[in-house]
């Protein structure tokens, strides 16, 4: 699953690393936009297979942030 940014802004912090396991609602990155720190949360339980952005990078709406592999319930 590809996670996209819903807002334009600057990547203030990458909270996860590739290979990390995430639960639903875990923060992937924090985007600074309009002087606020907006978390991009995981909509699924999964593993981060790719991070498409770096700290300090400007992102636009719909830009890809990360790729997650869905974690099955039995795993």
């Amino acid at each position: 699953m590809i996670i996209k940014s819903e807002i334009a802004g600057q990547i203030w912090k990458t909270v996860v690393r590739v290979g990390q396991e995430l639960a639903i609602d875990d923060t992937i990155v924090i985007i600074e936009s309009m002087k606020m720190e907006i978390p991009v949360a995981s909509p699924i339980a999964g593993i981060v297979t790719e991070l498409h952005v770096k700290e300090g990078e400007l992102v636009m709406e719909d830009q890809e942030i990360a790729t997650l592999e869905v974690l099955r319930a039995s795993e």
Binding site: I7, M34, E37
Partner: protein
């Protein structure tokens, strides 16, 4: 002589009409995972309440001895019905016949749906799945040029234009919806679409011919396009969910513009004060919070959970709009969502607000506004989108509003855009976390103290010092002292305070309810 043969033919025609496009066509439709229009109507309405109109409209086919052998019904099914005992008009295209593209009787019935709603002043529900007109017209004789209506006839769009000011109109896209049905879909107060629906001005072949672009109908007008474009309000997980959302929406609105919304009491105590409200807004101005949690804690809770029914979540998402109940009263909710651009008013959010406020005024819904407005969205994209015009139009709509209005100043209220959250003669409550002014501290300090910051030995420390000093000056207490707000409150008191006000405000509406009209706006 008796009329037995004719009476028998009526029965035969009705039976044939219920076969819709025939068993094969219905089966193909089911295989696509979609219900027929008659199945949809039966799910939506109270059992056995459908009272069909124009079942006999269609085209008969006779054999050589003039015996009826087939009957192709109008491909728009229409009738009265009831939802939770309330009378409604319901209609929709029959996709199993010509893909819902109107046949002559189908077109007439579709236009008549709006006329019926206007005549009997009851909510109109349209369940759409079908195409628009054909280049050959609706005539069966394809070599004949299509005949237009006479010049003196009333435009079929006239009732469409009138309904929005007189009766609640709800629409669903439950498959491909193109052309005239798409126009009808958006001429509604609330619209919903299923994941496999597509809403199109023109389909892929027309687009390919005109623009040379190869796109599927889903790429052109699927939910990922139209929930963000604002053409459609909500996504439904399936057709049953679409019907559920229609029923829920209607539960908050009156039958027409001459009535007021029903009060439906719940068991939720009016004096319920939630501790979470006292700590939900972070003291750090950079940290966001979840505005929907505030709405859910303040509004009535029902057996099914929160009474909050959100509309248009994906469109202009920095603004939340929806319906709910407070102390049983039907209310409309407006709130900023700081998770999107700090809640700033974008061009889309402004258009969403204007449309929503007009809807509330059309059906006399009191508005509760939860304010966290940092101002109009700034930057080149915002300027290019004409945000200032759309935003000012939204403010004009708010100030033309005639419904009871209460504003809870939760966090920010800055700049011109803040005015879009405070209606005329409104009741204003203020939380301790509220801050207001011409513009937020961070931007304001950078502009007003640019030289002082630049000349400081540690510019960053100077900037923070100035921001902290000025942030303290934006405190809500001086506003309460100056009676610029009705009351500064403990956030936990929000529900009882608003409930008490609402009782008074609703009772004070002694004048008869009537259709709402507004003047031109920017």
């Amino acid at each position: 002589m008796t009329w037995d043969a004719d009476i028998e033919e009526i029965k035969t025609r009705r039976a044939l009409a219920k076969q819709q496009g025939g068993a094969e066509s219905v089966e193909r439709h089911h295989q696509k995972g979609r219900l027929t229009i008659r199945e949809r109507i039966s799910i939506l309405l109270d059992p056995k309440s459908f009272d069909e109109i124009g079942e006999g409209a269609g085209v008969p086919d006779y054999d050589e001895s003039n015996e009826l052998i087939n009957f192709q019904p109008a491909n728009f099914v229409l009738g009265f019905g009831q939802i939770n005992g309330r009378k409604v008009i319901v209609g929709g295209e029959d996709f199993t016949l010509k893909g819902g593209s109107p046949n002559p009787a189908g077109l007439r019935k579709s236009v008549y749906a709006e006329q019926l709603a206007l005549q009997y002043k009851v909510p109109l529900i349209r369940l759409h799945e079908g195409g628009g007109g054909s280049v050959g017209g609706t005539s069966h004789e394809k070599n004949r040029r299509p005949l237009a209506d006479p010049v003196f006839s009333t435009s079929r769009f006239h009732p469409l234009a009138l309904t929005l000011g007189q009766v609640p109109v709800v629409a669903a896209a439950l498959g491909p919806v193109a052309g005239l049905p798409a126009s009808r879909l958006v001429a509604s107060h609330f619209s919903v679409m299923t994941p496999n629906a597509a809403v199109l001005i023109a389909g892929p072949q027309v687009v390919k011919r005109a623009l040379g672009r190869d796109l599927t109908k889903e790429q052109l007008g699927g939910p990922q396009v139209h929930l963000k474009s604002g053409a459609v309000d909500n996504l439904a997980t399936n057709e049953q969910d679409a019907m559920h959302q229609i029923v829920k929406f209607l539960s908050y609105v009156p039958d027409n513009a001459w009535s007021r919304p029903n009060r439906i009491r719940t068991n939720d105590p009016v004096d319920r004060c939630e501790d979470i409200l006292a700590k939900i807004v972070p003291s750090n101005r950079r940290q966001p919070f979840k505005m929907r949690r505030i709405l859910e804690h303040v509004l009535d809770k029902t057996e099914g959970g929160s009474s909050f029914f959100e509309m248009s979540r994906k469109y202009g998402p920095s603004l939340i709009t929806g319906l709910g109940r407070l102390n049983g009263h039907s209310v409309a909710l407006i709130a900023n969502d700081c998770m999107y651009y700090a809640g700033a008013m974008t061009a889309a959010a402004a258009q969403k607000l204007r449309r929503f406020v007009d809807f509330c005024n059309s059906f006399h819904l009191p508005i509760l506004s939860f304010v966290d407005e940092p101002g109009f969205m700034i930057g080149p994209e915002s300027e290019a989108a004409g945000t200032i015009r759309h935003g000012t139009a939204a403010i004009a709509a708010v100030l033309q509003s005639r419904v009871p209005w209460a504003s809870v100043h939760v966090h920010k209220a800055f700049g011109v855009a803040a005015q879009a959250h405070f209606g005329p003669d409104g009741y204003v409550l203020c939380w301790p976390s509220a801050a207001s002014g011409a513009l937020p501290v961070e931007g304001g300090v950078a502009v007003a103290f640019a030289r002082e910051i630049a000349m400081a030995s540690d510019p960053e420390a100077k900037r923070r010092e100035l921001e902290d000093i000025l942030a303290a000056s934006q405190s809500p207490f001086p506003r309460a002292e100056g009676f610029s707000v009705h009351e500064i409150i403990d956030p936990r008191e929000t529900r009882p305070k608003l409930s008490a006000w609402l009782d008074i405000a609703v009772e004070a509406q002694i004048e008869p309810a009537a259709p709402f009209q507004a003047t031109m706006r920017p």
